[in-house]
Symmetry: C2
Subunit: 330 residues, 2 copies
C-alpha cells in the first residue's frame, strides 16, 4: 500500500492506493500555518488514515507548494503555508520513522492526473491556482528538467505592455491567467472572486469581460506554449480556477478555435481537441505524491513508469493468489 | 561507418563517422532545386563520399528542412528546396539499394551538436535560419514530442502588437528573431543583409538599432521559453544568423543579464551562463543525421543514447582488436 499527501494552503488531502493504483481511502484535514503546524497536520493526516486503513505502508509521498530540493526534501518559498524554508523530508522521517519523498504539488498532480485519467501519451498538467505552473509527463515519468524548473511557464511573458509581475518581469502568463491575476484586476471581498467575476462578465460588465477575455487568452497561450515547446499530446487543466468549470473552458476552447481559423499552422495542431479538464474532486496531487513515493516511479522504462509496473505486479499477485485458491499449478 | 547528409537550401553537406562518432570525411556539393534535382544531388554526394572513403556504410541518415513523416520518410513543405511533398526515403532507397533514415534538419543538428559538444545534460539547439525553430535532446535522445512538433517555438507569439507572421498569428518569435524577420524589417540587396544591418546599427542608424534590439530580445525570449518550459540545461545557438558571431551573442547575453537585474526569479536561473554558440563550420546537422541513421539512436537508455553505445562498441571493438594483436586472451 502507498500513502500520498497533498498539503494545500487550507487543506491536507491524504489517500491510500492499493497495488493497482486505485484509491482505497481518502481523508481531508485542515492544514496548519507555519512550519511546525504544517508538519503536525501532515503527521496527524498520516496517522489518521493509517489508523483508518489498519495497514502499514510501503512508501509515503508528499506533494506541497514551493521549490523542492529533490535530493533532500527541503521545501522553499512556500509563502501560503507560512515558511521560507523547511526540511519537511527530515522532519517527517523523524516523526514517522520512515523515509518520505517530497515533491512540488503541481508536479505531483501531473503524475496523479496521468495515472487517474489513464493517459498513455506525453501530457502536461496546467495548474491554475494562485499562480500558474505546469507539470510535464514524458515517457510515462515526471520530467523535472535539468534544474527542476520544467513547466514553470507562468513566468513566460506574453505581452511587453502587460502588467508588472511580482517576479520582476512584465506581462507574464501568471499576470492574467491565475487567481492572483484575477485579484489584481478584479479586487473583491466575495468568497469566490473568480465566480463573481464570471457572473459580472455574463451580466455584461465590460471591465469583467475584459478580465475574463485576458484570462481565457492567457490559458490558451499557456496551452500553445506547452504544445509548441514540449509537444505534449494532452494538456489537463486543474487547480483552483478549474472549479469555474464550463464557463472557463468554453472560453478557452473558443480562443483556440478562433486561432485555428486565422492560422492554418495552429489549425494543423488541433489544439482545441488536446485540452481537457481534471474532473472536480479528483485527488490528483495526493495520488501523484503516493506514486512518486515509489522510488522507481520517476524512472522511465520504455514508456512504462514504475507505478504502471506496480499496478502490473498487483495484477500478477492477484492472479497468482487466484490460481493458488483454485489449487491450480502451471 | 555511418554516413550523414545535411541537405540545405544551397549546399548538401556529407560526413562519414567512424565507430567512435568522429568525423572521418566531409564533402560539400551544391543542392539541386526541385524534387528530382534534390534527390540527384543527394545521390551524387553519397556516391562521391563513399568513393572517397572506399568503404561501405552500416547506415545513412538525412537531415532536410521541412516537416518529416517519421514513419515513411516523406518530406513536406520544403519550400526552399522547391517542393511541397517528396518521398525522399523511398526515392533514395530505390536509387541506393539501402534503407535511409530521414529527419528534419534542425532536429538532426540538435543531435549532432549534443554529440560534437560532448554534452551530458538536457539541451536544446536553437536554429536561427530563415525561420526560428529548436531541437530538444532529453535523456541523451532526440525528443520529437507526441506529434513531431517539439521545439517549434518560432510560432509562439511574444507581442500581441507585433508584426503579422506568415503563419497567420501576430508577433511570433520568428517575426523578429530570424532571417525572414530581418528581411521584412530591413529590406536590402546586400549579399549578407544581416551583416549590413549590424554594421548600420554599430554606425548609429536608429532603425537598424531597433531591428537589432528586437532580434536580440527575440533570441533571449526563445532561450527563456526553452528553459522555463523544457528546462534544458544548455541552449546551443546555430543556423545562418549565428555566423554574425560575437555582435549577436553579446547582444543576447546583454538582454539576459538585464533581465536578471530586474527579476530575481530569472536571476536564479542563470540564463546567461546556459547559452552557447555552435562553433562556426561544425557540421552538426550532417553528424546528427548520421547518428540518427542508427536505428537505436533515438531510444533513450538510462540517459545513454544509441550513438553513445555505438561509440562504446567502437572502443570495445578496438580493445578486442588490440588484445587480439597482442595475442592476449581473457
Amino acid at each position: 500500500m502507498r500513502l500520498g499527501l497533498d498539503i494545500g494552503g487550507t487543506k491536507t488531502d491524504a489517500v491510500v492506493l492499493d497495488p493497482d493504483g486505485a484509491v482505497l481511502k481518502r481523508l481531508r484535514l485542515p492544514t496548519g500555518f507555519g512550519p511546525e503546524a504544517v508538519v503536525a497536520s501532515a503527521v496527524t493526516a498520516i496517522e489518521n488514515i493509517a489508523d483508518a486503513s489498519g495497514i502499514d505502508f510501503e512508501s509515503i509521498g508528499i506533494g506541497i507548494p514551493g521549490m523542492i530540493d529533490e535530493g533532500t526534501g527541503i521545501v522553499r518559498h512556500a509563502v501560503n503555508l507560512g515558511f521560507e524554508s523547511l526540511d519537511l523530508g527530515a522532519a517527517l522521517a523523524e516523526r514517522l520513522g520512515v523515509r518520505v519523498k517530497v515533491e512540488n504539488d503541481v508536479k505531483s498532480a501531473a503524475v496523479g492526473a496521468y495515472h487517474l485519467l489513464e493517459l498513455q501519451h506525453p501530457m502536461a498538467y496546467l495548474n491554475l491556482g494562485t499562480g500558474l505552473a505546469a507539470g510535464i509527463v514524458i515517457n510515462g515519468a515526471l520530467w523535472r528538467g535539468a534544474r527542476g524548473t520544467a513547466g514553470e511557464i507562468g513566468h513566460i511573458p506574453i505581452d511587453p505592455a502587460g502588467a508588472l509581475c511580482p517576479c520582476g518581469q512584465r506581462g507574464c502568463l501568471e499576470t492574467v491567467a491565475s487567481g492572483s491575476g484575477i485579484t489584481r484586476q478584479w479586487p473583491s471581498d466575495a468568497e469566490y472572486p473568480a465566480l463573481e467575476l464570471f457572473e459580472a462578465a455574463t451580466a455584461g460588465d465590460e471591465r469583467a469581460t475584459a478580465v475574463v477575455d485576458a484570462l481565457t487568452r492567457g490559458v490558451a497561450s499557456a496551452v500553445r506554449t506547452l504544445i509548441l515547446t514540449a509537444d505534449v499530446e494532452t494538456v489537463v487543466i486543474g487547480g483552483g480556477l478549474s472549479h469555474l468549470g464550463e464557463p472557463l473552458f468554453a472560453g478557452v476552447r473558443r480562443v483556440l478555435q478562433d486561432w485555428a481559423r486565422y492560422s492554418p499552422f495552429l489549425a494543423s495542431l488541433s489544439l482545441p481537441t488536446r485540452v481537457c479538464v481534471l474532473p472536480d474532486g479528483m485527488p490528483a496531487a495526493a495520488v501523484g505524491a503516493a506514486l512518486i513515493g515509489v522510488d522507481h516511479s520517476e524512472v522511465s522504462l520504455n514508456g512504462r513508469s514504475g507505478y504502471r509496473r506496480l499496478a502490473d505486479r498487483g495484477r500478477r499477485d492477484r492472479r497468482r493468489q487466484d490460481s493458488g485458491a483454485r489449487g491450480g499449478a502451471p
